[in-house]
Structures are given as structure tokens and as C-alpha cells.
């Protein structure tokens, strides 16, 4: 009898505690990928922990994180960043060190996913795509992409040097495994830009990932480079767009925690859930980006696996994006690209 009031008080306190729920801000790139993350990660997290997630979209601007960390007013708890930024941000002390004891065994993940300051969340690929309603014989190699006689029409390419220089070298006959070796030399860079010049007047540049599928559907371009998930999303909408996987460049996106965030534990909890095999396999069903948790692959059927950049068939001739190379050479090459475009 005497215990009752204490239990009641405890219950009241507990209910207050659950009212004072934690709220974390998770930042991603939005779009089709953002929707898939919302379904596969945000919703289960909110349901099991009772915490709330505020989703924010950004365009990968590291300046925002840098400004937050420098002014010690960090409002973002978990951020999805591209691979060059995880390395650079880690060097410059923008991110918290990952506590793998709270996330899971490092051996469960593909080696590239394990980083001091972040954990890879999915594998995506920049590939060649075309509209199968308009092109009957599929292009096979990057040399085909450069062949405007065989495939007349414009080419969609990302505005910038990244990826394009690699594709140009492959089109010029450089073997996949030698691309970065060649590009690192002065002559190799020269060769890549020269190859780009061949195609220059036929290029229609894109800025946002959503643009290339639109170009293909509208018939603005015959072939385009594109992030593979965008083609997957268009296919789900019933568009007959197809991917040529030869010589695609694959890369990872990472979860990081900006240094000095106020909800470290809740943020880590989110990252650990979003890195689990169960959630990652759900995610891969929603958009064709490859899970980094190798155990997630076992939970997927053959059809879903066949669409992922990580599947054996699709990754056979793929090139892994070289983060170190671009961290060193990126600024100079992008400047050179600007000079090249202005010529």
C-alpha cells in the first residue's frame, strides 16, 4: 500500500521524461534518396526511441558545418557527407570521432565504409544512362559516349572536373585500374582535358542530380552521366531509362557528427540504427544504392541485388572513386576546368 504513491510518482516522472523527448537534426541531400532514408531510417528510429528527427536538406556545403563548428553553435547532429568531405573535415577537426563500440563490429562493413570520423552509409555510382525508347542499341563503353556519330545528340555531364576527367581517360583507352595513375601525371591531365575538348560543343551541363533523368526524358540529350539511384527512381515512375554500368565510378556517402553537437548519444543511436543490416536492407529496397553493412546483402532478393552498384555484374569494370587523389588535386583541377570551360 505504501509503495503505491512512489510507483505513481515514478510513473509521473517517467511520463514527463518521455515528454521531454530528445530531438535530433539529421541532414541529407533530399530528393529520392532523402525519401528513402526517411522511410527506412527516420521512421523506425522515431518509433523505437521516441526521439524526434528534424530532417534538413542541404547541397553538401561544408562551409555551413565549418561555420557552425567555428562559432561553437552546432545545430546539426548527424550529416550525410560525400567521401572527399569526410576525409577533409576529419583532417580539419570538423567532425566527432566515430565510436564504433556503439555502432557495431567494423568487420560487418565494407572496408571503405569504416572511417575515423564517419561511417559509410551507402554505395552509389556515377554511370552512363540513356533513354531506351529512343536508343535501341545500348552504348557499351565510354568510347561510345564520346562517339557522336554512332549516338548522335547531346551529352549530359556534371558541371565540374570530378568524374568527367576519369570518364575522358577511359574513353581515350586508359584501363580502369590505371585511370588515377595516369590522371596524376601532368601529361595525363592534359590528355583528359584534350579528350573533353573533343566533346565540348556537344555537352549539356547539369548541376543537380535530378536534372540528367529529366534531360533524357525530354530528349535534350542522347546519353548522360548520372547517379544510378536517379535512374532507378525514374524507372519506378515508369520511364524507360537504362544504365550502362561499364566504367562507372562508385563512391560512398558517410554519416558524420559535426563536432560539438548537443545530442551525441541520440545521434550515435541514430547512426547505429541506420547502419544495421535490417534498416540498410529496407533502404536498398527503396532506392538502388548499395548497403555498406555486408550482412544487409543477405536479406535482399536477386532482383534488388541486380540493381545495386555493388552487385558482381555491375561492379566488374567499375572504378572506385579515389578520395585521396581528389583531396590533393581537386582544387587545382577544378580551377583548370574553369579555365578550360572559358576557352
Amino acid at each position: 500500500m505504501k509503495l503505491k504513491p512512489i510507483v505513481a510518482a515514478a510513473a509521473v516522472v517517467a511520463s514527463f521524461a518521455s515528454f521531454a523527448q530528445t530531438q535530433i537534426t539529421v541532414v541529407n541531400f533530399g530528393g529520392a534518396n532523402g525519401n528513402a532514408q526517411k522511410k527506412a531510417y527516420f521512421e523506425p528510429y522515431e518509433k523505437t526511441t521516441g526521439n524526434k528527427i528534424v530532417g534538413v536538406e542541404y547541397n553538401g556545403e561544408q562551409a555551413k558545418i565549418k561555420a557552425m563548428v567555428e562559432s561553437k553553435n552546432v545545430t546539426w547532429d548527424v550529416v550525410e557527407v560525400e567521401s572527399p568531405d569526410v576525409a577533409r573535415g576529419c583532417d580539419e577537426g570538423l567532425f566527432e570521432k566515430m565510436d564504433y563500440s556503439k555502432i557495431g563490429a567494423k568487420s560487418d562493413f565494407t572496408p571503405a565504409a569504416v572511417h575515423e570520423c564517419g561511417i559509410g552509409t551507402f554505395v552509389w555510382s556515377t554511370v552512363m544512362a540513356f533513354n531506351a525508347d529512343k536508343i535501341k542499341t545500348a552504348p557499351v563503353t565510354w568510347a561510345d559516349f564520346w562517339d557522336t556519330k554512332k549516338f548522335p545528340g547531346k551529352r549530359g555531364m556534371r558541371k565540374g572536373a570530378r568524374y568527367n576527367l576519369e570518364f575522358a581517360l577511359m574513353a581515350d583507352g586508359v584501363a580502369v585500374q590505371d585511370v588515377y595513375k595516369v590522371l596524376a601525371t601532368k601529361n595525363g591531365a592534359e590528355r583528359a582535358f584534350k579528350k573533353m575538348t573533343e566533346l565540348k560543343s556537344n555537352i549539356q551541363w547539369w548541376e543537380a542530380g535530378a536534372q540528367p533523368p529529366q534531360f533524357l526524358v525530354a530528349g535534350d540529350v542522347a546519353l548522360t552521366t548520372v547517379y544510378n539511384g536517379r535512374i532507378d527512381a525514374a524507372q519506378r515512375e515508369g520511364k524507360n531509362l537504362q544504365i550502362t554500368w561499364t566504367g562507372g565510378i562508385y563512391d560512398l556517402d558517410y554519416w558524420v557528427m559535426p563536432k560539438g553537437g548537443k545530442n551525441r548519444d541520440a545521434a550515435l543511436k541514430y547512426i547505429s540504427m541506420a547502419s544495421s543490416a535490417a534498416e540498410q536492407s529496407e533502404y536498398a529496397k527503396l532506392i538502388s544504392y548499395g548497403p555498406t553493412n555486408t550482412k544487409a546483402l543477405a536479406k535482399l532478393d536477386a532482383k534488388t541485388l541486380g540493381l545495386l552498384p555493388t552487385s558482381a555484374a555491375n561492379s566488374k569494370t567499375a572504378l572506385q572513386f579515389n578520395v585521396g587523389f581528389w583531396a590533393d588535386q581537386g582544387e587545382a583541377l577544378e580551377k583548370r576546368f574553369a579555365a578550360w570551360a572559358a576557352q
Binding site: 562551409a63 583532417d91 570551360a341
Partner: protein, 419 residues
């Protein structure tokens, strides 16, 4: 007056008193007006002047190397910058790098040197992680150990970069923003042609702005003239048509232009439907699309000053010229147009200055060779996170705007009048 003052001794004090009171009242009034404008003044200083000063500072500030590699800088002071540096420099470098407490400082150093010599990032960070060495090592042994960590430490280009940047201030960012560079010896030269970008980009920025201004004038002038001849009621109605798009978000208008101008868009279908072309014309993701959208967005900035000047030009002058025997066309160009020069000047300057800072429209509607200077400022801020370079480019943009305004003041000899 004198009689009254003598008659009333007390009032002799009054004028002084009055003067004092007057002065006090005036002072109060002045304080009152200052306190009224104070918020705006403070706002301007904090929001406008301080950031500009900070931007100009960042464009010449170079603290990364000076903060971290002080001893190395000293050891390199006597170095001739053409041969391998002395072992003492290697030892100083290893000591300096090992002494960096915060990894973020090492990262900042690596980024700074990397923007000078590609590859310095991995070199510095790799070495930083391998440190510290055994303190008992002699300088020659440290040299050897550093080479074991990374053989690139015998490449003097990295050492030249360290020596060059050991000063706290640098003209390098500003030089780079006008395609100049400073070599290891401090001689200034032009950057090689294949990486000379900013001169052309600045030129392109002016070119696009000039074309946009010209088309705004050609399209805006007749419209403003027509508006000025209407009755006030009609003019107000039409002005709303000018202002409604002006109040619409730029992004919405840019998206609308994408819909209109795309290959199978309304404009192309109309062109093909009327038989003007057989194939769709490329109107988007090139210079044409950028100019069309920018002219549309900036047109009100031309029309409004023109309209306000034209309203004040009495129509009687034109009638007088015609009645004195001038042909209507000659009268228009010789009598009317010169009276609208202030409007043309104000509108033209406004449109031009707004255009040179344009970012979103070219980024969304232009190709790789249609980007203006702001695009690269954003690129350096967000992508390369090289804020020194971004600030230097911003300073160039600011400086050219001020020069243009100065020229305008000289030519028009009047204040900028926006009606």
C-alpha cells in the same frame, strides 16, 4: 532694448540663460535625432561594414603557416629556395608539426599548402600522423626519417610553399584572382594559360552584364515611355503588371523559364508550329537562356528609374520642337532622349551592378562556360572551403563595382537618382 535691460537688472542674465537653454534644447534635439538613427547606424555597421572589412581582411590574411610552422619559417629564412633546404629546417618542421595540439590546425595548414601545391594535403597530414619522432635524433637523422615517411619531402616545391607563406599576410589570393602568381623568389608573373581562369571569367561577367543591360534598355525604354504618356490610373494598372513578376521569387521565375525554354517547351513548339524553325532551338543551358532570364528578372530595375524621369519631362518641349519645324523622330532623339539620360544612367548602372553579382540564374540556366564570378566565389566557399580565395574574388567584385560607380559619377555628374 537697452532701456529695458537697465530697467530690469534681472533680465541681464536672461539672454545668457536663454542661450544656454537654447543650446540645451538643440542638444536634446540632436541627441534625439541621433538616437532615432542609431539603430540603423548600428545595423549598418554590424551587418554591412564589419563583414566587408572582415572579407577584405580574409583576402590578405595568411595565418595557417605562421601559426604552426614558426621555427620552420625561421630555419628557412636564409635558405636560397633553389637547393634542398638545410637539415635544420627538416628538424624544425618535425618539431613544429609534432607540437600542433589541435588536429584542426594541422588540417588548416594542409589545406593552405595544398591550395599552393597540389599534394601538400596528403604530405602534411601523413607526416603529422607519423609524428613525433624520437627526440634524440640529430637533424640529419630527422631528415632521413621524414623521407622514410614520405619521399616527397625532398621535393623543394613544398618547401618553397612553406617559405613563401610563412608571413602572416599575403598578396597571393588577390594576385590569383587576377591571374597573377608569385614564384618562390617573389617575382610576379602571369599564371600559365591552361589555368588562367579568373581574367576570362571576370571579362565574361562584364560581357553578360553589358548585354543584359543593353537589352533591358532596349526593351524597357519604349515601355517606360508609353507608361509615361498614360493617365495616372492607366499607368498604375500597367505598373502593377511590371511589378508583379518583380515581387515573385527569382527561383520561381527561373524554374518557369526552364519550363518555357526547354527543347519541347512552349517557346520551341511555338517556333516550330509557326514554321520558323524545323528543329528545336537550344535555348537553355547556354548563354542565350541566361541572358533571357536575367533580362526578364532585371527589367523592372530599368523601367522604374526611366519611368520616374520620363514623368518629369514636360511634353511641351517635344511639341515646341515639332512646331518649330523638326521632324517628330529627330525631335524625339534630339530633345526628348537627352532629357532622360539621368534615368538611363541610373537604370543602366543599377541593372549592370546587380547583374555582375548574379549567381542563381546562370548556375541553373547556364552551361559550364556561362558561369559568372559569383559562381566561383560560391565554389571556393562551399566546395573547396578556401575562404581566402573566395574573399579575394569577392574583393575584386566589390572593387569593380566601386570603380564603375565612380565612373558613373564622373560621367553623369549627379547622384544616383532612383526617382
Amino acid at each position: 532694448m537697452t532701456t529695458s535691460t537697465t530697467a530690469l537688472p534681472a533680465s541681464a542674465v536672461l539672454p545668457a540663460n536663454l542661450a544656454r537653454q537654447l543650446k540645451r534644447a538643440e542638444r536634446r534635439k540632436r541627441l534625439f535625432s541621433i538616437s532615432l538613427t542609431m539603430p540603423l547606424l548600428v545595423f549598418l555597421v554590424v551587418i554591412f561594414l564589419v563583414p566587408i572589412a572582415a572579407l577584405l581582411m580574409r583576402a590578405v590574411e595568411n595565418p595557417e603557416v605562421a601559426n604552426t610552422l614558426g621555427r620552420t619559417g625561421e630555419a628557412l629564412a636564409q635558405w636560397d629556395r633553389t637547393t634542398t633546404p638545410p637539415d635544420a629546417a627538416y628538424a624544425a618542421l618535425a618539431a613544429d608539426l609534432a607540437a600542433i595540439q589541435e588536429q584542426s590546425d594541422a588540417g588548416a595548414l594542409a589545406r593552405r599548402l595544398n591550395s599552393e601545391v597540389s599534394g601538400a594535403r596528403s604530405l602534411v597530414m601523413g607526416t603529422y600522423r607519423a609524428l613525433p619522432f624520437d627526440p634524440a635524433l640529430t637533424p640529419a637523422q630527422v631528415h632521413q626519417r621524414l623521407l622514410e615517411v614520405d619521399a616527397r619531402w625532398d621535393d623543394i616545391t613544398y618547401w618553397q610553399a612553406i617559405a613563401k607563406n610563412s608571413k602572416r599576410w599575403t598578396p597571393d589570393y588577390l594576385l590569383a584572382s587576377v591571374d597573377l602568381q608569385r614564384d618562390a623568389q617573389g617575382h610576379i608573373s602571369r599564371v600559365p594559360d591552361d589555368s588562367a581562369a579568373f581574367g576570362r571569367i571576370l571579362l565574361r561577367t562584364f560581357e553578360i552584364s553589358a548585354v543584359v543591360t543593353l537589352f533591358c534598355l532596349l526593351l524597357g525604354y519604349p515601355l517606360a515611355y508609353w507608361l509615361s504618356t498614360l493617365t495616372e490610373r492607366q499607368a498604375n494598372m500597367c505598373m502593377i503588371l511590371v511589378l508583379v513578376p518583380f515581387w515573385t521569387s527569382i527561383l520561381v521565375r527561373v524554374a518557369a523559364w526552364i519550363v518555357l525554354l526547354q527543347t519541347n517547351g512552349l517557346v520551341n513548339r511555338a517556333l516550330m508550329g509557326t514554321g520558323l524553325t524545323d528543329e528545336p532551338v537550344a535555348l537553355l543551358f547556354n548563354r542565350l537562356g541566361v541572358v533571357i532570364a536575367m533580362v526578364h528578372i532585371l527589367l523592372p530595375f530599368m523601367i522604374l528609374p526611366l519611368y520616374s524621369v520620363m514623368k518629369s519631362v514636360p511634353p511641351t518641349y517635344l511639341r515646341a520642337a515639332v512646331s518649330l519645324g523638326s521632324s517628330p523622330l529627330a525631335a524625339f532623339f534630339k530633345v526628348y532622349v537627352p532629357q532622360t539620360y539621368p534615368g538611363m544612367g541610373a537604370g543602366g548602372l543599377l541593372v549592370f551592378i546587380l547583374s555582375i553579382g548574379y549567381y542563381v540564374t546562370p548556375a541553373l540556366l547556364g552551361g559550364a562556360d556561362d558561369q559568372m564570378l559569383s559562381y566561383y566565389i560560391a565554389q571556393y566557399t562551399n566546395v573547396n572551403v578556401n575562404w581566402g580565395m573566395a574573399c579575394a574574388l569577392g574583393a575584386v567584385l566589390l572593387f569593380t563595382t566601386l570603380v564603375l560607380y565612380g565612373i558613373y559619377r564622373r560621367v553623369v555628374k549627379s547622384e544616383l537618382s532612383l526617382g
